[in-house]
């Protein structure tokens, strides 16, 4: 989400509070002034939404990095697991940043081959798990009641593959599943 984030940063830098204050205090009534007010209002609303979203994603990325540090040495599972690969961490971070706003953020788990698992577990009977390794081909699997499956999708670093978006959305589309169970 580079555009909203940079907008947020830009607004913060040039005087976010000043813009907000200007909106509240404005008494302009001409059509041109109202157009400006609406435009500024839209920018502020977008910036606030982006800021909240970026905050959640930043927290998720912090969790990911903490997990990577915890599993930075081989044998982190008490067996023969490989250390988490830094490239997998990099790709996983990009994946989180690229997630559409309406997709809940995942939980993370280390895998024995040094990859990172991004999991959505709304319930014991519905889950979606995607594996981020050291290239742009992502393995994933899902359980949805009696239905289950697996596939591979390509991630270009910017856009989440549509099949993956649809898969995650599908397991959250039943009832009122809680978004994050951990």
């Amino acid at each position: 989400m580079p555009e909203p984030v940079s907008t947020t940063i830009g607004i913060c830098c040039i005087g976010y509070a000043a813009i907000q204050g200007g909106m509240r205090g404005s008494s302009a009534v001409s059509p041109e002034a109202q157009t400006v007010r609406f435009a500024v209002s839209a920018v502020v609303e977008r910036a606030e939404r982006s800021q909240a979203l970026f905050g959640d994603k930043a927290a998720a990325i912090s969790q990911l990095q903490a997990m990577a540090i915890e599993c930075a040495e081989p044998g982190w599972d008490g067996d023969e697991a490989s250390a988490i690969n830094p490239l997998a961490v990099f790709i996983a971070e990009n994946f989180v940043r690229a997630l559409p706003n309406f997709i809940p953020l995942p939980e993370f788990a280390p895998e024995p081959d040094g990859s990172i698992s991004l999991d959505w577990l709304p319930s014991r009977h519905r889950l979606f798990s995607i594996s981020v390794g050291t290239n742009n081909r992502l393995a994933y699997a899902w359980l949805d009641g009696a239905d289950k499956g697996h596939a591979v999708a390509r991630f270009d670093g910017d856009r989440i593959p549509q099949r993956v978006v649809e898969g995650i959305s599908a397991i959250f589309s039943h009832g009122n599943a809680s978004i994050r169970t951990a």
């Binding site: 997990m67 915890e70 599993c71 044998g75 982190w76 599972d77 008490g78 067996d79 023969e80 697991a81 490989s82 939980e107 993370f108 788990a109 280390p110 895998e111 024995p112 081959d113 990859s115 698992s117 999991d119 577990l121 319930s123 014991r124 009977h125 889950l127 798990s129 594996s131 390794g133 290239n135 081909r137 992502l138 393995a139 994933y140 699997a141 899902w142 359980l143 289950k148 499956g149 697996h150 596939a151 591979v152 169970t181 951990a182």
Partner: protein, 136 residues
């Protein structure tokens, strides 16, 4: 059917529970173990488990006999052998150490590692779904 040095049968019965030690809090949540907890090790091509059931004291006893104490045991995932086999893999006794077994028979595709991983993930997800979580 023969007996192993531990006194257990050399064939793991469908009714037996197998236990995976969990040393990472990211391998489970409040509901269940996560699929990654059951993915096979790429070097040994299997997943190490123990035939120690779901009783916390027995799990700790086996852990203390077999660990190098470099990790802390946080929880255990316990699954019926029949459920593991229904997922498409097998449980084979492999001692020593006592009560040790491996989940074997995972798909390995030399020409497509990501498809291989996807297939393994689906199996691991099924086992995780059928497993009970024991907090230690």
């Amino acid at each position: 059917m023969g007996m192993l040095p531990s006194g257990l049968p050399d064939i793991v019965g469908d009714d037996e529970e197998v236990t995976r030690f969990l040393t990472q809090s990211s391998h489970y949540n409040t509901v269940m173990p996560r699929p990654a907890a059951f993915l096979p090790d790429p070097k040994s091509r299997n997943k190490s488990v123990f035939r120690c059931g779901a009783h916390p004291e027995r799990i700790r006893e086996i852990w203390e006999k077999t660990t190098n104490f470099q990790q802390t045991l946080k929880a255990a995932a316990v699954c019926k052998t029949a459920e593991v086999r229904n997922a498409g893999v097998d449980v084979i006794a492999k001692e020593p150490p006592d009560a040790h077994a491996n989940i074997e028979g995972w798909p390995w595709l030399a020409n497509d590692p990501e498809l291989q991983k996807a297939k393994q993930k689906e199996i691991a997800a099924v086992i995780a779904q059928k497993s009970a979580l024991v907090m230690l």
